[in-house]
Symmetry: C2
Amino acid sequence: MDFPIQNLIYLAPVAGAIALIYAFATTAWIGGRDPGNERMQGIASQIHRGAMAFLAAEYKVLAVVVVVIAGMLAFLYRDSTDSSWTVGLSFIVGALCSALAGYIGMRVATKANVRTAAAARGGLAPALTVAFRGGAVMGMSVVGLGLIGFGGLFLVYLGAFDALADVDGAAFQFGRVINMLAGFSMGASSIALFARVGGGIYTKAADVGADLVGKVEAGIPEDHFLNPATIADNVGDNVGDVAGMGADLFESYIGAILGTMILGAVAVSGRLEAAVLPLVIAAAGVVVSVIMTFFVKTREGGNPQVALDVGAFGAAILMVPISWFIIDYCIASAASHGTPMVMFAGGEPMTTKALMAAMVAGLVAGVAIGLVTGYYCSKGKRPVNSIVEQSGTGPATNIIAGIGVGFESTAVPILLIAAAIFVANHFAGLYGVALAALGMLSTTGIQLAVDAYGPISDNAGGIAEMSGLPPQVRERTDMLDAVGNTTAAIGKGFAIASAALASLSLFAAYRNLAFKPGDVLALTDPEVLIGLLLGGMLPFLFSAMAMKAVGAAAMDMITEVRRQFREIPVLRQALALVVKAEHEGRDLTAEEDREVLAAGAKTEVERCVAISTQASIRRMMAPGILALVAPVLVGYWSPFALGGLLAGTLVSGVMLAIFMSNAGGAWDNAKKQVEDQKKDKSALVNTGKGSERHKAAVIGDTVGDPFKDTAGPSLNILIKLMTIVAVVIAPLIGRL
Amino acid sequence: MDFPIQNLIYLAPVAGAIALIYAFATTAWIGGRDPGNERMQGIASQIHRGAMAFLAAEYKVLAVVVVVIAGMLAFLYRDSTDSSWTVGLSFIVGALCSALAGYIGMRVATKANVRTAAAARGGLAPALTVAFRGGAVMGMSVVGLGLIGFGGLFLVYLGAFDALADVDGAAFQFGRVINMLAGFSMGASSIALFARVGGGIYTKAADVGADLVGKVEAGIPEDHFLNPATIADNVGDNVGDVAGMGADLFESYIGAILGTMILGAVAVSGRLEAAVLPLVIAAAGVVVSVIMTFFVKTREGGNPQVALDVGAFGAAILMVPISWFIIDYCIASAASHGTPMVMFAGGEPMTTKALMAAMVAGLVAGVAIGLVTGYYCSKGKRPVNSIVEQSGTGPATNIIAGIGVGFESTAVPILLIAAAIFVANHFAGLYGVALAALGMLSTTGIQLAVDAYGPISDNAGGIAEMSGLPPQVRERTDMLDAVGNTTAAIGKGFAIASAALASLSLFAAYRNLAFKPGDVLALTDPEVLIGLLLGGMLPFLFSAMAMKAVGAAAMDMITEVRRQFREIPVLRQALALVVKAEHEGRDLTAEEDREVLAAGAKTEVERCVAISTQASIRRMMAPGILALVAPVLVGYWSPFALGGLLAGTLVSGVMLAIFMSNAGGAWDNAKKQVEDQKKDKSALVNTGKGSERHKAAVIGDTVGDPFKDTAGPSLNILIKLMTIVAVVIAPLIGRL
């Protein structure tokens, strides 16, 4: 061997280090920006402290969960010769890396928000830069810690178990080490689930609570600083959309890499190359992402959308030739050692073209699903128009229309996923399906930067509003916020499609790890069918828990805000002034403004933050434990039933996730579309703010909140967490 | 052979004839009851004519559909030696029998409603008798025509193809004939789907439209005769809940019998007995049902619930010893001919105890699911209480709570279905699973009588209201209506559980008919996975179509009612009078009453009926065709993918069906519970009619209407129709 292929593994932690260096440098850069005036800093500090308090409380609970699970894993693996500590250790390292990435990302995001608002006073271009770089820290922390942790652990195990010895012999132990890494993925998935569910409950309890008491009951504008739940709402944006999404993509990313590696090691001959390939592609994706961040900038008066597209799409497009080169190198390397890459089932050696076709099929499906998602959620398109139209007859028809749109929106994405599976499998079997998922996720670094840029801009707008900055500042932050939406919709499409494909590859990995080649997970086996039905039910039960948690937590919040409105006299008077001015359609007088400002200082913001924090942490436990325990219980009863369980959860979980995300997005934009329309008081064409149609649209938007921000995104993780749990316990329950 | 077992087949048409004789005699008896005063007869006649006009219009369209499909079946089967005409013929006969049963049942139901109202003037007991017997005609027509058609066709084919020759030889053709009968089941399923979807669109378009314009916009009470959509609403109850449900149970019934017969003939040795057994049990169930109808009666002041329970549960309990006897006889007969009943896969001969255990597992699961359904939808229980509580903060939290309840309600039923499958399979393999479904459906005759009794009582109440009968009459009809709900909930549980089990047995039948024993529908086969995802998506797309159809049809209705309210001057004045009196909390004066009555005669009821009819028939086509075409397209691409498609549709279809039915039921009763509560104007404990909480609850109820009466019940049929289509095309696409 001239150049041993396994040396390429070192590229993963090296690329991870590059990403982390970028993240630290950017963090320092952001810290040096102007944090705005005293009032802005005061608000930002409240948000920052609230977010950090939540993270501290959450991680305290999760630390216990992680230790307990790691102990259980060690216990279950006690009879396994070398794995008893490795699986538990991998689990802890995975959980730690994910949690650390969340911590870094959120810390910076809650500093970038106010600096974006401050920069927006000077123009759109500097604001875009601050907001995007804030998101980029999250993105690079995730992929950086992911590759360092995962790749580093891999190298440690390879060394510790001398797993690269006897590369071409029968005793080759390379695959065994890859299986130890499943614990890392499970640790990341566990943190992701709790972060998504907890963050989702937090953000929507605060949002729904703030809106219902503030906007609906008291009649004051959204995001008004007299509403003590507003800060909690802003904290929620960070907790849910920054930390929650970061953890989500962290586990997707690792899951896709791991799934490809396992299938490469188990099902493909020339397996050293097949298993190293995904790590190299991931490493390349990180470097490409870092480079492309420098191209995200706009001139004053330019379109920020273009800047973001250049970054995200540019990175994806750049990955195509780079992947070609990597794949070609790996295939050639395998062939040169006399073990050409071949699926065990097939016969023909794989070609670079075939593997690229599989990967590109995933990429194309991901983008197309993103575009379809955008279509279903965009203002002015048929689906949102139909909701707007049906809102004219009240909330009931608005809700029916929204649910109809959400249901319908499952059709095309599923056809696209099916097509991607068909193509990827046609060219490269299940390894190809895994590669398709990896293709979508290789540029996670910059995709997540764009995603996290959204809530930072959103927060910047809230801070601008609450601290009374001039209207043009708010306009600029609104513009930043709006352009993030399209890219975010595409990101959502990627997330769902990659979750489906990644869990398919993990599912195939489970099958290979748990059963002999002759054993079949037959659909007509009653145990499989029982598992299928139970698995199909779990996403519904899980969503019910999440939605009920939001409802109950929102009630806690509502009760607290009502209490403050009732019991704080100056607040009550200030509310009356604001409502009166709103009603008369005028601004507050200078004297009124002073009075209202003074009252704002009397709101007990911390109590609202504390309520959201406690409620979300308490209520994230039950759904989280369900997701962890269900596959273990079913698996120990029957590994066949567990196979059915995974397939059932995949099917109904993907449908519900698409349904809930898109219905929520469509309701949201239907409301915005109604608000854009001119007000007309006549009964038949009522529309615009304050009309009956608008009231109906606001109700739909509120229903959609827990759909799209709590239950929907959590389902992606549920599917993958259950599958990775199955992979981890496969050697224990399997029939090998 | 002393007494040839095949002679028992004759029992099926004989029992069917008994049921039809009962139906005709009861029809005559109902015709002889007092049809009430002129005004009642006028209203009843409008409902009757509306219902019949719908049926005529629907059947005209379906006739074309049936002929086209029969022709296509004959074309597809053109190369098959003896089946080219039989499958098409079976299809036509099945469709005809189902349509005829719907016609008879609805004709009588729309005569029984007014006679129930008239009888209620004399007391509760006679009213119960009329309403129940009206429902019994529907029930007995369904099982009677089912057994005559299915059993008769079976006998004809047996004779025509000399299929009983060579009973113990290799050339035994008995199974081939059973497969020809799949066309009958497909015909029944096709009619059922269109009837359920069309009827569901009709009833909810009228209901939602009438409520939104009448109750919400104009402020007049529900069911008021000034509302021209009220008659259409009453027609809808018959169209949806009588004809739709009749066709639904017709196909469930036939599907369960057929599934058991196919599995008996294909997978069980001693197959003659195994295939005849379900027909004999069905025949016995019909006779038991007829007998038990005579026990449904109550004393004045007695509880009508008890009367219905005696009938429905009595029949189910009575079936246990009778089934034991039948099963014992068949097992003994098989053993005496040297071919004991044995699953091919197993080895031990089946015992009476084992088969009974399978059947009773189904019965117990069905009843338990019914009780759980009742729990989730009942006033005063935790789920409905939680919706009532969350309605206090407005429609948004009401909707979120209802969806949460619906999602959660899938859990226990699925566990029960899984348990039933486990037990039935443990004792008697997939044949046992089929038997479990059959056990639930053997007493369909009386179950359907109880179900159809509900809308008849509901209609009677509406007629009493509209024709101004004394309040105690309305109280009596309300009591009749209310007690039907519990039994109906249990019936719904039976329907869902039996649909799941019956389609599992048909699914197994498909597998056996399409593949060689060595071929496996492996969950890890990409084609199966693609099918699984597509199948999981179909119920969502189908539900979206159904819900959008309701929304669009309701809009048509709303536009028409608004037009009448606007353009008919006397109507406008009368509305003002009613609203004023309502507002002042007083009854109308005698003079006002006359004026309002006169205005009522000016409403253009027929236009509303025509709008509902046209809208529902036009809009039922797309979802119906989707259900018929999807399995054919996928099946011709890959029979493996079709297997996945069926499993996917089963999983997500059952979940959505339970979710939608229960969420709808829970919203309905949450609204009723709010109405029962005292009115209290304070902001925090607002409740009772007219409160904000009530408005929120009404919105939830309206959203739930298309859930529970259109999309939800149609999904059961979708699942089974797709499976039976697969069974029918299995010989054409299979790999045998």
